[in-house]
Symmetry: C2
Subunit: 237 residues, 2 copies
DNA sequence: CGCGGGCTGTTACACATTCTCACAATCTAG
DNA sequence: CTAGATTGTGAGAATGTGTAACAGCCCGCG
């Protein structure tokens, strides 16, 4: 776990792979009710599911990182979310998946058959209530991102993104001011609605402004947390 | 109902107020299970609920239009959705509302007490399942909008917005190529992540390109549906 | 009935941000 | 060690913004 402090790329993946952190009440309940789900390992770049696949399972990320994205007719790509350990993937789909889910690093994922889940909900309304809450949380997150992307500058978007990662890390018991990005610049760009060039330049600018440090391109150290979160929340300038 | 063809502002409101169109399975089920909910009328600009209000009800729009929005610390506003007859409002909230809901025209709204709803879910898992589906649909819509806003030009955003309204109208049994906008330019701007000036300019441009006609600023006629939807889906250029 | 204020919508122009394209530098896998 | 992928940087182009002026409409008031 401490490996993260003298990190190299292969170890980065090992770190997150070795530190599962379920943190979400719905996920817990799900795990208890459906603990029998099959456990699967996905290598980096493997797909958990793809657009058009019938919805057969709901997935609980136990270790690693999964990137949820859509591709458009004209080739553009849109990243919807990055799932961390404890996150549920594939919940919002109806009938067939509208999104792709791709492991960005070696990941351990529990597969809960959707039929069993629906049966469990019918039998126990409280589970349905929990899932409604989980979906509500996703909805809130989605709207938060919507706002971030629609109303903010590149600097504010990236700051907000980094603060979000920092919070996730903190909640999972890791360091809030130093962490490894489990995704590429292209993933970040497609998540924030920017180009990779702008993401790269904005990273450089944040470093120049003394907000962050980048020992390697994937290793972020937040050196001015208050400044960064002020920027993220539009309280600066 | 035909009033829409020789429309004036006060009548516009009457039109939508007089044509309730529930269309959503979850809403139907909700109405059947909780049909006892109190019916309330909101005048234009009245708030159904505000940020910070405790979540006491879920609301079913029966007639009129409700605008869901958030305001930010720095005064910026972000419109999340426009609820039409048959839409459910206030579902995704936990504990207290994070959003405001404001009628843009005189509206009739059924209030379903949240406690009763939760009790009904606990007792009947199928209702929970339906609500999960309704939430999933909202999530999908939110992600669609997220993509629209993050990756598209002003013209594409507005085209996509108009096609969306057109589809909604068609589904509700109204004309797909001529309709009245129940919201102001400012609402549209805050929804699409643009300024009112850009929205106005883009309307003018779409009219210049022969895609739409604007007899009045609130009365849209789609004169080239295929062209507009090509633009909306990024299939043009 | 006419006047004036307030709100919404439209348009023009200078400006800022982000994108596109091109290429160098760096890292990674085989 | 080499080939391919990823990241970083610069210059000019495109897109959207902010400011400001103005028109149209509604409403209240005298």
């Amino acid at each position: 776990m401490l490996a993260a402090t003298f990190v190299m790329q292969p170890e980065v993946q090992t770190v997150s792979y070795d530190t599962p952190q379920p943190r979400n009440a719905a996920a817990d309940l799900l795990a208890r009710r459906c603990g029998t789900g099959q456990l699967r390992i996905f290598e980096a770049k493997d797909h958990v599911f793809r657009e058009g696949d019938p919805v057969s399972n709901v997935y609980l990320v136990e270790a690693g990182h999964v990137c949820i994205y859509r591709t458009l007719a004209d080739g553009r790509r849109h990243v919807i979310d990055f799932a961390y350990p404890g996150d549920i993937v594939g919940l919002g789909a109806i009938g067939e998946h509208a999104n792709n889910a791709q492991a960005t690093a070696r990941s351990r994922v529990r597969c809960l058959p959707i039929a069993a889940l629906q049966q469990a909900i019918r039998e126990d309304g409280r589970l349905g209530l929990k899932l409604c809450e989980a979906l509500s949380r996703e909805l809130i997150a989605s709207r938060e991102l919507l706002f971030t992307v629609s109303q903010r500058t590149a600097g504010e978007r990236l700051a907000s993104f980094l603060i979000g990662l920092s919070r996730r890390n903190e909640r999972n018991g890791a360091d809030r001011s130093e962490f490894v990005l489990p995704m590429t610049r292209a993933d970040i760009a497609d998540f924030l609605g920017l180009t990779i060039e702008t993401v790269s330049r904005t990273f450089t600018k944040l470093r120049g402004d003394g907000m962050i440090d980048l020992a390697q391109s994937v290793l972020v150290t937040i050196t001015d947390y208050d400044g960064l979160s002020a920027l993220a929340e539009g309280r600066s300038k």
